[in-house]
Amino acid sequence: MDERFDCIIVGGGPAGLAAAMTLARADARFLLVERGEWSGAKNVSGGVLWGRDLARLVPNYWEEEDAGWERFVNHRRLTFMDDGASFSLDFKSDHFNTPPYTGLTVLRSRFDAWLAGKVDEVLEESEHGESLLATDILVEEVIKENDKVTGIRAGGEEFFADCVILAEGVNNLLTRQVGLQTDYVPAEGLAVGVKEVIRFEESVLRDRFQLGERSGMSNEFVGYASDGVEGGGFLYTNRDSVSIGLVLGMADLRKAGKKPYDLLNQFKTHPTVADAIRGGEVLEYNAKVVSTGDMRVMPKEIYADGVLVAGEAANLVLNAGRAIQGMDYAMRSGILAAETVVEAKKVQDFSEAFLQHYRTALDNSYVMQDLRGFQQAVQVLHSPAMFQQVPRLVCDFGREFFTVDNKPTKKAYQILRDVRKEHIGYWDLIKLGSRAARAL
């Protein structure tokens, strides 16, 4: 093929599709190459798509009956666990009920495919019709000429473009090939996610979790969930299933010598979790490497001559204790990368110097502001006390505070003082508390 594109996008996930949508609307000529049989066939998330960026890509997506998302989140819960108890912070609010929603549960095989369909719709309406979403093709190599990226090699053929957007996901082999990421990325700063999708009758699911027609719950778990390994658990409600899983710090898992699927079984048999998922049928088991938001493992740079890196290929994921964000970052970075390409096309300058505008735009967006601003939080949340002593302390407090057994009752502060002594030194708790207060 000797056609030439304005841009080649590698990867048809949220980052790549957001870039494609942006280019399609700007009438730029692009080729998106996805290695899965369809967009989403290779993709896994927890997953909640947080924030409102989807509405930038698909305005009024909530009016569409068969849109690719599962439920909007109007009920959030953070649960601390020890081996027998759970203590939750629980927040439900009707302000979450108004679109554009701020959280959507998704199953990626469906969601990404739907989003790809939306890009195709825009392409069909556009006059040029020369852009293309190509699936089932693996990009083997990025082509460089005189240190500038000029195209890709895929399926034995070469394709050329003014620039390439790498949206290949966390296992960013091409980002490494072009020299933006080191060849070996160490386990520190990455996590392993394992998950099951468990099906229920929709009426059972709605009754059990008090869900409306399309409203849903997100629940994160700290403590026993990960059995002392850095990380935590999650449970999200889909239309007629729940996604339940763990995200485990990879280096810590290696040190602990534990198997992720054993920990998942243990999590599922915790009395609180067992009650929530009783009677469901496991539909699928998934695993995925997850970036943790630790900027030390990010690529050295996210642009070079003729190339831009977006989404989790740039390790744009953050868990700062409020939400595990990544798909929203992917979309925003994809949009900003594509906007930079559109500008570059106007002046016919795809050099490193011009593509730096992408870096500036991302730096000025919430994505990099949050990633930078919450680096301390990432470190605090990785400290063993946060997933070991603190959840146990909280559960011991709850056990005593909520138990009425016709003995003289202790005041809350006495209970707190007593359980604190059992689990953590006074000064250690003060230090952790003040660190967390500043960081979170």
């Binding site: 049989e37 066939a41 199953l107 693996l138 966390v170 198997k259 048999t269 067992a274 049928e281 539909l283």
Partner: protein, 104 residues
């Protein structure tokens, strides 16, 4: 311990994964593992427990064996192995193995 909770073995879990090119008698491996390194100098053999698809196993004399057929393409082994034994690539859509997620 509560009743009726569907804890699954890893074999049962992998039984719920849709793999590509199942009909092919021989798929092309996408991950190469120098098990010589695992079996001589590696101090932890961590892939035998961190791999979410149990693709790395220990035999009765403690030797590491690798099979790619059950791989669900997560990438864990390429980061967890700090001994340089794992060369990780994506499976070829045409003649490789790998997954087709139905949920994801």
């Amino acid at each position: 311990m509560s009743e009726n909770v569907n804890t699954l073995s890893i074999a049962e879990r992998l039984g719920k994964v849709a793999y590509r090119n199942q009909g092919r008698t021989e798929a092309k491996p996408h991950i190469l593992v120098e098990t010589d390194i695992c079996n001589t100098t590696c101090p932890h053999k961590c892939t035998t427990y961190v791999c979410p698809a149990n693709c790395y196993t220990l035999d009765e004399v403690g030797k590491v064996h690798f099979q790619f057929e059950d791989c669900i393409e997560c990438g864990t082994c390429m980061y967890a192995c700090d001994q340089g034994a794992v060369t990780w690539r994506y499976p070829d859509p045409e003649d490789g193995r790998g997954v087709n997620w139905n949920m994801g």
